[in-house]
């Protein structure tokens, strides 16, 4: 029994050491360092689940260590004939019931959070959300602010403390808009429009990127998010509104399938001539040199959905 105690103590010590080492580094991890209410709710849910999971892992590891140390074949027990017990209804009921309870305990906050994330975050000031259309193109990001009538490429400026309603779509392959410190990702799909609320609680620069594989330029399809104070943001909008206008010719150049990392600003938007959520093959046609306006399907609306 002495060996047993020593071994299990050593193993338990080792496990807790590993866990402590990793957890102490957790605050530096982007997802666990939220800067807005969406990412915060997700972090809380993650931490809750990690708690439950560590408990389960601990129970299994302790039992496992006990079994293999205590019942291992040794010269002393060579004559021992194990009993051929076929099971125990009580025990099996216990370890069916406990996981059921754990699943319920996790399902309730999960479902609550799923529903909560459908709504704009409750900002301290209850302001209207800023609407931003985020369109992914192989391999760049186009952000459209329809109410401000401005469009940016590969960068995103947002006001702090105000919900942003992203309307996501894609000009070609399926991408996913992801700003880890502000909240989880959602797919951008051609011919579809998905909605995602995010919000920044404090001014700062955050990394945003495409998280869903889109081919050769995928690793470079990134953008910077700058959260600004209300005044700075207003000032930026004004400046942007005096930038050059976006022409369809310029826009069609952006439709080219290539890595493009420059940041651009325009004082008009591509929604004037195309909404990729309604015309899935615009970019494909432009690349083939076909006029995308030609035989633009009138009945288009019948076979694409928009869901959120």
């Amino acid at each position: 029994m002495n060996i047993l105690k020593k071994q299990s103590k050593f193993i338990l010590g080792l496990i807790s050491l590993i866990i402590i080492t990793f957890i102490s580094g957790c605050n530096d991890l982007a997802v666990l360092d939220p800067k807005g209410p969406v990412a915060l709710q997700q972090k809380d849910l993650i931490m809750l689940s990690i708690g439950f999971m560590l408990f389960i892992v601990l129970v299994v590891f302790v039992l496992f260590t006990f079994m293999i140390v205590r019942y291992r074949e040794r010269p002393e027990n060579a004559d021992y004939e194990p009993p051929q017990d076929e099971g125990s209804k009580v025990l099996e009921l216990i370890w069916t019931a406990i996981p059921v309870l754990i699943v319920i305990a996790l399902a309730v906050p999960t479902v609550k959070t799923i529903y909560a994330l459908e709504e704009p975050p409750k900002a301290p000031s209850h302001k209207n959300p800023v609407v931003v259309h985020a369109t992914s193109v192989d391999w760049k990001w186009i952000f459209t602010y329809p109410e401000e009538n401005i469009e940016t490429v590969n960068y995103l400026n947002i006001p702090e403390d105000r919900p942003i309603l992203f309307k996501l779509t894609s000009a070609d392959s399926m991408a996913a808009l992801w700003i880890p410190q502000l909240g989880g990702q959602e797919y951008n799909m051609a011919g579809m429009e998905t909605e995602l609320y995010l919000q920044a609680d404090e001014p700062g620069t955050y990394n945003g990127r495409n998280a869903n594989f889109t081919g050769e330029g995928f690793a470079k399809q990134k953008f910077t998010v700058t959260a600004q104070t209300e005044e700075d943001y207003e000032q930026w909008v004004e400046e942007a509104q005096s930038a050059r206008k976006l022409t369809q010719e310029k826009y069609n150049e952006l439709m080219k399938k290539e890595i493009y990392t420059d940041e651009l600003t325009f004082s008009s938007t591509h929604l004037e001539w195309v909404d990729h959520a309604k015309q899935a093959d615009y970019a494909v046609k432009v690349r083939k040199g076909i006029d995308p306006e030609k035989d633009k399907q009138e009945e288009n609306d019948s076979h694409h959905g928009s869901h959120h």
Binding site: Q42, Y71, D85, W95, E186
Partner: protein
């Protein structure tokens, strides 16, 4: 098409691969000719319908594919270790992770398990072969040539590069033109025929060919897991067949099922793929559960704790596996009701799985645990799989999944379940049944070194990835920047990968060493086994059992050993056996030719291949081959030779 488009050019890795393929082929031809083994190879192996030989061929092919997939993995680790490295170009990296995933799931995990199933299940149920031995050969050869078609892509025409999930529109003709993606579609389609046939074959075998007395609740757990897996295959694989056909039609014949243009529905592919894909992950995990059950029970020297609960938990896992597929794309923007439903169904899988974990633990309780290599792999499964399982529950929580999806957190999770589940089971099963297959055990000392290196390496490689994921590192990026801060953990992961590679090399060395030097088995029962496969001779005679055993309960062979009086007088009867046939391999070669033609859209070749397939089907239909009988005196002679 020009020749330099046909052959992949311009990359030193590819030239090295070209050279190694040429030299290996020359080497094989030379050895076979020098030792005059061509006839032996043809008549003993290539035309065989014997489930044991087919099983062994599956395992050999799977080990080769594990090597190929492993090299892919090492190349990926080499490229991703340091930020900004240029060992591989983006396109090449994308091809490699695509082939790594596809090969490991379709051409390694499944065939390895199907190989073990082929070898062990008919023996476990006291049968002389499977229900349809000829179909079994067709299964193997279509798998093999499907795998070959997929594998040649990296030297001829270029490999697919849209990920093993091949999401459209990326994988469609509009964004990925050329032969690469066609290889994926046709390689999987041809191999899929074999898998579906295996599903039907073993379902019938297990239902109809069990030894007298083996009622369905007396079947060994590995047989149970196989039965349930085969039902999953029969329901899931047709969905893949249809999905692949839709994309093939789009790419080759210009239809618009999944395209961006003309109202195609790319989301249809995602749904169909995962309606197959989620049951698929249980197709590769349930047989693993069966293998662990056999091994843990054997080496704890106890009957399995909670047999019925073990069966019911597998049945419920199999049922649930068809109603969880949306958890692969919670981030598609489905509404809260949909995501909540699939969150809960997914989490519910943890319940039967948890039951199994505790039943395994309590099989150990009060046992006398003998630690062999097979047992080491099985024991290591329990804690490692638990880590993979609990992170699976975390991923199931949709609202949190928006942060884990497409990141290294996910990569780590599915490697934890697939490696500590499936791969550990393949190795455990190999060590366990090896003496039955080849008449000698694998060396325990080398086996333990190999185990510890691989198992520790595995944890060192994949545990840090959970943290990389939480730090925002997406999967499938071929490079990153210093500023991202992911360098340290990536270095750790790569060190772990090297440990796994050394562990694998030691396993292969062990096979060589044991072939040369290990003591030959004289009894058929090296582990004090509990099930019928250990009751027959080693090496197993081609008819498996001279007299079909009678089963009086669970752990049939243990009972026989406890109560030898049961053994009846040996009165042999003529044994009915199937004839070998060359048609399955010819037909599969024809499939290969047809598939190759379709990949390059060379219609004449595709049609020629299809004519070959039809010709073989026709020939087989007029084939009045009922097999043959082994006369009693030959059975006597063979049985005597074991004494």
């Amino acid at each position: 098409m020009k020749w330099d488009e046909f052959f992949v050019t311009g990359d030193p890795f590819i030239y090295a691969a070209d050279a190694s393929i040429v030299f290996t082929s020359i080497g094989i031809v030379f050895v076979l000719t020098y030792y005059k083994k061509w006839k032996w190879l043809w008549s003993e192996w290539l035309t065989t319908v014997d489930h044991k030989k087919i099983g062994i061929m599956y395992i050999i092919a799977a080990v080769l594919m594990l090597f190929r997939g492993g090299v892919d993995a090492l190349l990926m680790r080499a490229q991703i270790t340091a930020p900004g490295s240029e060992i591989l170009k983006s396109q090449h990296y994308n091809e490699i992770f695509t082939t790594h995933g596809t090969i490991m799931i379709i051409f390694m995990a499944m065939p390895f398990l199907i190989g073990l199933i082929n070898f062990a299940v008919p023996l476990q149920i006291g049968a002389r072969d499977v229900a349809y031995p000829y179909l079994n050969a067709v299964s193997f050869w279509t798998f093999f040539f499907g795998a070959m078609l997929f594998n040649i892509s990296f030297v001829i025409g270029g490999s697919p590069s849209a990920g093993w999930t091949s999401y459209v529109p990326l994988a469609g003709e509009e964004l990925s033109p050329g032969p690469g993606q066609n290889y994926y579609l046709l390689g999987l389609q041809i191999a899929g025929i074999g898998t579906l046939l295996t599903g039907i074959n073993f379902l019938v075998t297990i239902l109809k060919m069990r030894a007298p007395g083996m009622s369905i609740i007396r079947m060994p757990m590995f047989t149970w897991s196989t039965l349930i897996t085969m039902i999953l295959i029969i329901f899931a694989f047709p969905v893949l067949t249809v999905a692949l056909a839709l994309m093939t039609f789009d790419r080759l014949f210009g239809s618009h099922f999944l395209t961006l243009a003309d109202g195609g529905l790319p989301m249809l592919w995602l749904n169909l793929f995962w309606i197959w894909g989620h049951p698929e992950v249980y197709i590769v995990i349930l047989p693993a559960f069966g293998i662990f059950s056999e091994i843990i029970s054997t080496f704890a020297r106890k009957t399995l704790f909670g047999y019925k609960a073990m069966v019911w938990s597998m049945v419920s896992i199999a049922g649930l596996s068809f109603i969880v597929w949306v958890h692969h794309f919670f981030t598609m923007g489905a509404n809260a009701v949909v995501n909540s439903f699939f969150s809960i169904t997914t989490m519910a899988i943890a319940i039967p799985t948890g039951v199994k974990i505790f039943n395994w633990l309590f099989t150990l309780y009060k046992g006398r645990i003998k630690i062999t290599s097979a047992m080491l792999w099985s024991l290591a499964f329990i804690p490692n799989f638990t880590i993979g399982g609990v992170t699976g529950v975390m991923l199931a929580m949709a609202a949190a999944d928006y942060q884990y999806h497409n990141t290294y957190f996910l990569v780590s999770h599915f490697h934890y379940v697939l490696i500590s589940g499936t791969v550990f089971a393949c190795f455990a099963g190999l060590y366990f049944w090896y003496p039955k297959m080849f008449g000698h055990r694998l060396n325990e000392r080398i086996g333990k070194w190999s185990f510890w290196l691989f198992m520790i390496g595995f944890n060192v490689c994949f545990f840090p990835m959970y943290f990389l994921g939480l730090d925002g590192m997406p999967r499938r990026i071929y490079t990153y920047e210093w500023a991202d801060g992911w360098f340290d953990l990536n270095v750790v992961a790569t060190i772990g990968a090297i440990g796994m590679a050394i562990g694998f090399v030691l396993l292969i060395y062990n096979i060589y060493w044991s072939f040369r030097y290990a003591e030959r088995e004289t009894t058929g029962d090296p582990w004090d086994g509990r099930t019928l496969e250990w009751s027959t001779h080693t090496p197993v005679p081609f008819y498996n059992f001279a007299i079909i055993p009678e089963v009086s309960g669970l752990d049939a062979y243990s009972r026989m050993k406890r109560d030898p009086a049961q053994e009846k007088k040996k009165e042999y009867k003529p044994i009915h056996m199937p004839n070998y046939s060359g048609k399955p391999i010819f037909m599969s070669v024809a499939f290969f030719i047809s598939g190759f033609g379709l990949v390059f859209e060379w219609w004449w070749m595709a049609i020629l291949g299809l004519i070959g397939v039809l010709a073989m089907l026709l020939l087989r239909s007029f084939d009045y081959d009922d097999g043959y009988y082994v006369p009693v005196d030959e059975v006597e002679r063979i049985e005597k030779s074991y004494e």
